[in-house]
């Protein structure tokens, strides 16, 4: 970071004022140099919110019907402390579709971790599982 001349001057005057009687040319020079170096070190950061995703998510699972699909998904959810609030499923021939409303507010895990767990399960069972925040569906289908 490069400082303008007047900025440098202001910085120097501030250092002199702060030091009061102790101010000497060497001391002021050292302080100003180290301050400028500190400023150049890293670009100023903006505060970034680190909020965990919470609230209700919609889980949709598709695939060929097989034993243990519901069991694997629900036991994983309960292990993660997620609350299943609603569940509906349909079978069309051999094809299976399940939709769940899951509340992850009280879970120790956030959405990304639950998604990773579900990816693991869907890989094993050869099905597809999607997890999307409920807000998306509310925005799209409710006015």
């Amino acid at each position: 970071m490069k400082l303008k001349e007047d900025e440098l001057r202001r910085l120097t005057l501030m250092a002199i004022e702060e030091l009061g009687d102790k101010a000497s040319p060497e001391l002021v020079k050292n302080i100003v140099t180290s301050t400028v170096n500190k400023l150049s070190g890293e670009v100023e950061k903006l505060p970034v919110s680190e909020d965990k995703t919470s609230g209700r998510i919609i889980l949709t699972a598709f695939g060929l019907n097989a034993t243990g699909i519901v069991a694997s998904i629900t036991s994983a959810l309960s292990e993660y402390g997620c609350d299943i609030q609603d569940l509906t499923q349909k079978l069309m021939g051999d094809f299976f579709t399940m939709i769940m409303v899951v509340d992850i507010t009280d879970s120790d895990h956030d959405l990304r971790q639950v998604q990773e767990k579900m990816n693991e399960i869907s890989g094993k069972l050869g099905i597809k599982v999607f997890l999307q925040h409920e807000d998306l569906f509310r925005q799209m289908h409710r006015i």
Binding site: V43, L46, P47, V48, T60, D86, V101, H133, H141
Partner: protein
């Protein structure tokens, strides 16, 4: 269940099968406080400012993608038109600024940064003249910088001198990037009535009335509209318009939700949603295919313009209802190289430059990503730009020209960029001279519609 089974499946179908994505989240950054007498200091200030705001841009967008299961195709940055804060610089210095922008964009991991721009509809400042002259160098010596120049508005008329300059700039950019199919021209747009909050690159910039920093969103989804029209079957025009509106309404709502979320994570204001059907070369993600699904045999058939007009208008209506912050261009884009349906129509000889020009009178932008023979005279390119600007000026709409006079290529050849920019067959241009008209120079006065006060 708070939602119907079908509603949930519809959303999953859109995101997983029909390529519905948020096309771009574009962060607009003002560079107006970055000017300094010294070029080195200016470059450092630009770099620092872009990094300060843009550092987490990609990461935060990815978090939102994961939360909603909707992909955000592009994360980009737009900046104050470079000619405004840095008006005192000269050609070589502008090129150095372009390089600083390129470096900053690379550092934060984005593919394009847009706003190497000038607004010269009423005339040039010295800096604007220098910036325009520097465009061929800037575009050939950087990878990520995009340039645009506004040469006309309904209020000011059309600056023919600027068009003539731009025609030369386009030819020179094509030559300087001849080793890559004149790719520089794909990053250069000439506008009439340019919107100041457009999030879509290459024509994006951070307008002079915009705040310090803002986040704009561009939504797309031709695939979703295409499937909805196909499913609707043989309904009449009003019902078809209704189908389009309902579909667009839903994707706009989703886009606004995600845009606001990204802005919130950054802690910056949310600007606008631009609902533009922007095609990609992926199969099914095509405006050409939508027009065909509406009933014309191929793009270019009589009726194409009417179909496009209805599509464009339905998109706008649905967007207005779905969001209170609609902006940018909002409508349907009809680029050639980025749309397989359009590419096919050109290759079959069904779509000519003249028909495309007519279509641009009712689409949301203009002649976009069109490749023409490399030996087309500059004055002919100028004439094409002037025609397009005239459509925009008289109809009070945005029009643009992104044209590629592919160096060393002619009819039968094509340019192929791969990726989102796609592939364009060379389109034939009428072999009639516009020279005597264009060389008059000066300005076309503002039309009567400009006197609205």
């Amino acid at each position: 269940m708070p939602y119907e089974f079908d509603e949930i499946l519809e959303t999953i179908k859109m995101t997983e099968i029909e390529h519905f994505d948020i096309r771009t989240v574009t962060m607009g950054i003002s560079l107006r406080d970055c000017a300094d007498r010294s070029l080195e200091v200016t470059k450092q200030k630009i770099y620092d400012k872009i990094l300060k705001y843009g550092k987490n841009h990609v990461k935060l967008a990815q978090e939102v993608e994961a939360k909603y299961g909707v992909s955000i195709a592009n994360k980009r940055i737009s900046i104050t038109p470079v000619s405004i804060p840095f008006d005192a610089f000269h050609l070589e210095e502008f090129v150095e600024i372009a390089k600083a922008l390129d470096k900053a964009a690379g550092e934060i991991g984005i593919d394009y940064i847009a706003g190497y721009s000038a607004l010269v509809q009423k005339g040039f400042t010295n800096g604007e003249r220098e910036l325009i002259k520097s465009i061929p160098f800037a575009l050939s010596e950087t990878k990520r910088v995009c340039a645009s120049v506004n040469v006309g508005t309904t209020k000011a008329g059309i600056n023919i001198d600027a068009i003539n300059m731009m025609a030369d700039v386009i030819k020179s950019t094509a030559e300087k990037t001849k080793d890559n199919d004149s790719i520089g021209c794909a990053k250069l747009v000439v506008f009439c009535n340019v919107p100041e909050d457009n999030p879509f690159v290459a024509g994006a910039f951070h307008g002079i009335s915009e705040p310090e920093i803002v986040l704009n969103v561009g939504i797309s989804g031709p695939g979703v509209v295409l499937d909805a029209i196909r499913e609707a079957g043989s309904v009449d025009m009003q019902q078809l318009a209704e189908v389009i509106k309902k579909t667009i309404f839903k994707i706009t709502r989703a886009g606004e939700l995600m845009g606001r979320e990204v802005a919130k994570k950054h802690g910056i204001p949310f600007g606008i949603v631009d609902i533009s059907l922007a095609p990609t070369p992926a199969p099914g993600d095509s405006i050409g295919d939508i027009l065909k699904a509406m009933g014309v045999e191929d793009v270019g058939a009589p009726g194409t313009t009417a179909a496009l007009a209805m599509l464009n208008d339905s998109v706008k209506k649905a967007g207005l209802m779905a969001s209170s912050s609609v902006g940018g261009m909002s409508g349907a884009f009809i680029p050639v190289s980025e749309d397989q349906g359009m590419i096919d129509a050109v290759e079959r000889g069904n779509l000519s430059l003249e028909k495309l020009e007519a279509m641009t009178a009712v689409c949301s932008v203009g002649l976009d990503m069109i490749a023409i023979p490399g030996d087309t005279p500059a004055t002919t390119i100028g004439g094409i730009i002037a025609d397009e600007c005239a459509i925009g000026m008289i109809n009070n709409k945005t029009t643009a020209v992104r044209i590629i006079p592919a160096y060393g290529k002619t009819i039968g050849d094509s340019v192929d960029y791969g990726g989102l920019l796609g592939k364009a067959p060379i389109l034939s241009v009428r072999n009639l001279s516009s020279e005597n008209f264009m060389m008059r120079g000066g300005k076309i006065p503002a039309p009567t519609v400009s006197l609205s006060n």
